[in-house]
Symmetry: C2
């Protein structure tokens, strides 16, 4: 495979990004500053803009309205929350996708500071107006039926958007558009709510059919910071200048989301506003370059892109977990030796939701008994129950200490451990635990692995979500 | 129906039970003292004993070994955890039930201080020995093949029972047996781990076929206090002197458990040791009284007992929630207007697991948006998905303030609320929220309701389960 991946923005890992020493009035935590890029490689033909439209409370200095748009009609795809009480943005975007099948879209307009949930028809009308007015404002003259922009909201629920403010600021938003690193970074700021740092990554890659071309991928996302009234929302916007058909793009996005955004858990609650979208405009392609497609069968480019996008979106999703509310640890859960990816993924998701385990981790206890307790009930009442997937006598549990595995349970038998070493390991910010099911006895069985990312459960989480302060 | 229910132990609601001002060295919280009975009506022909066998750490003054046994062979039933990493006690009891079908059992021996999980064959042998030696010790001469006692453990996991201590103390345990209130209360103490108060209730009832007879029910249970290493365990032991066949008893117990112990959530983790058992010896029946049976069809007595037992076990389960780790609120969740009990029960269980909602409650925020967010994702990936059970425009959410409902959402529309009144309501220890789905449009549809009990999520919960102290 002729993939070349570069991560220019991570060259300056240790560089402090002065602009963000203060973020929404708060200092950026020292261990987060390395996650803010100082440069990037952004896709051609996309422009982003952001402005303060007075959606966030007065006194907040951050921008709260942003637009990400392709100069030319692009393929668009979206993965939307299935929450029944979804925000107006989700309904509007779902309808847009139904109407267009993702063809000839321009991008997305998004706001922070207001989730526009439980606002009924009036809220829907606001979301539609926001998308239409912005689309008209950036229109290149082509007569559009309806909008060509998706809509995203995040923020406080059950309150109306200050729609007059929003519409009033859209021309200013359009004027602010550009394609520099600062434009992208400022948009990441505008997407934030209680995030402690802006979340932006970019990357270049090539495709087998055009190894000489450097395509770019850029992604904005937002963390699961608390949003009054206590709903955490994840949003993601991904752009590439590679050419991809709408159908292929939707399949690529859904597949990569299932291995990234669907593999993270902060607190186990699925938001009403969650949305990850992607746009591909082909602006970096030569005129003879065919669009990446899945029909009649997945091309080599499609397969290459699957790989690139899964890695890219995993990095985006991990940025979200690294900003989990009040968390002190970044935890990777690896479930292996499973008869299927889906069973491993489900087990990992249950462990990642175990409040007791995650609270133990906060106390620097690897709490491997807690992992086993969660493992032990993980498949109850699921379609995987009763298939002998979990067999205590086959199960091993370990943590990774650097490159070395520290075993706690080996095929059902507890292993004596070196307390001093465990203590040292648990003091690190990044932890990784491996649960090996060792399903089946035959050498021939293909055993699958799933990875999940989560965090610990802390006093600070409780303080942030209850408003009760202990410190 | 000729049911007469008396709750003699609650006559002295306000009486402080001096013996338990200190409990395991800690003072009993003032709001918990009223939950400790000062008298009771205990079933005939049952004797209980307890002793300190050195299972709990040295310095702990509480008894840690108990026995509850019928003088004569009794019907026995058990509901056992389905956790794959179950304790030795669960395996041993499951095997006992398989071998005997619940006929001619004597009762249960239980210990606190050691969960006997992950201890392999040696741990199984310990549990078997504990049951056999105790059964022999209380034997009335009938030659038993194997044990006639169930076994229960709770406490720290992944460590062996000090089995020599246990076996050595069994004769003393047998000698300690009796049927006074103090015997029962002391046994409830012995069943406790980090409970802040002992959990015991009793009640009298009559059956339609013998309205002149006062039968008794007594129940011991233990709270979901943290048990190192962070597994919460619920155990329950219920005895009655009514005559019930083993088959009927198992059906009664399972049915009542589904409406009581299966309707509580503290932290969402299912323990490796959970077990609720019941014994019926018929000692209060006249010689002509037939045993309550379900064959050829459920008798009037069976139906009456269903009602009694569900209420009784709900009270036991609520005692567990009232002692939830670090909790400051006792919350009732009522989901109504559902096409089925099972769907309502599932929705209630998901709301009861919402960490964000429960943390908001701790901050005295009714956080009804959090309820809707949880409701909105509650049926995803379940067999209830896609049936139109949750329709935002039909949904109402309210809290009960005394006997009056305070509406937050009325058929999908937010209702303005009186902040001062909400504040007053939220300061109460007991809260109740009602989610009305208003499924279907026809007047003829039977709509079902499910009730769940849970608590808030607090800084103290995090402190107890992490060992990190903030106060």
């Amino acid at each position: 495979m002729s993939l070349r991946l570069t991560r220019p923005q991570f060259r300056n890992f240790s560089t402090k990004f002065d602009k963000f020493e203060l973020y929404g009035g708060r200092p950026i935590p020292a261990n987060k500053q390395r996650l803010i890029p100082t440069s990037g490689s952004y896709p051609k033909g996309f422009n982003v803009g952001s402005t303060r439209a007075g959606i966030k409370p007065a006194g907040n200095v951050q921008p709260d309205l942003l637009i990400v748009a392709s100069d030319t009609p692009a393929s668009g795809a979206a993965v939307l929350t299935k929450n029944e009480f979804c925000a107006a943005s989700v309904t509007v975007t779902r309808e847009l996708m139904r109407r267009t099948n993702g063809a000839r879209l321009r991008g997305v307009i998004a706001n922070s500071g207001c989730a526009n949930t439980l606002t009924g028809q009036a809220g829907l009308d606001d979301a539609i107006a926001m998308g239409r007015v912005a689309a008209k404002c950036i229109s290149t003259g082509t007569a559009d039926k309806g909008s060509s922009l998706m809509v995203m909201h995040t923020g406080a629920g059950a309150q109306r958007l200050p729609i007059d403010n929003v519409l009033h600021h859209i021309p200013k938003l359009a004027q602010s558009m550009g394609n520099t690193h600062d434009h992208w970074l400022e948009a990441a700021v505008a997407l934030s709510t209680t995030d402690t740092y802006p979340k932006l990554i970019s990357r270049t890659f090539s495709l087998p059919s055009a190894p000489q071309i450097n395509f770019s991928l850029a992604g904005l996302t937002k963390g699961a910071g608390m949003v009054h009234p206590n709903m955490a929302t994840t949003l993601g916007i991904i752009c590439t200048d590679a050419p991809i058909t709408p159908t292929a793009l939707q399949i690529l996005l859904r597949g990569a989301a299932s291995k990234s955004y669907n593999c993270i858990s902060i607190d186990g609650d699925t938001s009403t506003n969650d949305m990850v979208t992607m746009f591909a405009n082909g602006a970096a392609a030569s005129s003879s370059q065919p669009a990446v497609d899945v029909s009649p069968e997945p091309s080599a480019d499609f397969v290459a892109l699957q790989h690139v996008l899964s890695g890219f979106m995993s990095d985006m999703a991990k940025l979200v977990v690294r900003d989990a509310e009040g968390a002190s640890k970044f935890i990777t859960i690896r479930v292996r030796g499973s008869p299927s990816y889906d069973a491993a993924h489900h087990i990992a998701s249950v462990i990642a939701r175990s409040v007791l385990w995650k609270t133990g981790i906060y106390g620097l206890d690897p709490n491997w008994h807690g992992i086993l307790a969660a493992l032990g009930y993980s498949l109850l009442d699921t379609s995987f129950a009763g298939q002998g997937i979990i067999i205590p006598e086959q199960t091993s549990v370990s943590f990774m200490d650097g490159r070395e595995a520290v075993k706690f349970l080996d095929r059902g038998v507890p292993v004596p451990v070196d307390e001093a070493r465990i203590k040292q390991m648990m003091e690190k910010e990044d932890l990784e635990t491996i649960v090996d099911l060792r399903y089946g006895t035959s050498q021939d069985i293909t055993r699958e692995e799933a990875v999940y990312w989560t965090c610990d459960m802390t006093h600070d989480f409780i303080s942030m979500n209850s408003g009760v302060d202990f410190s």
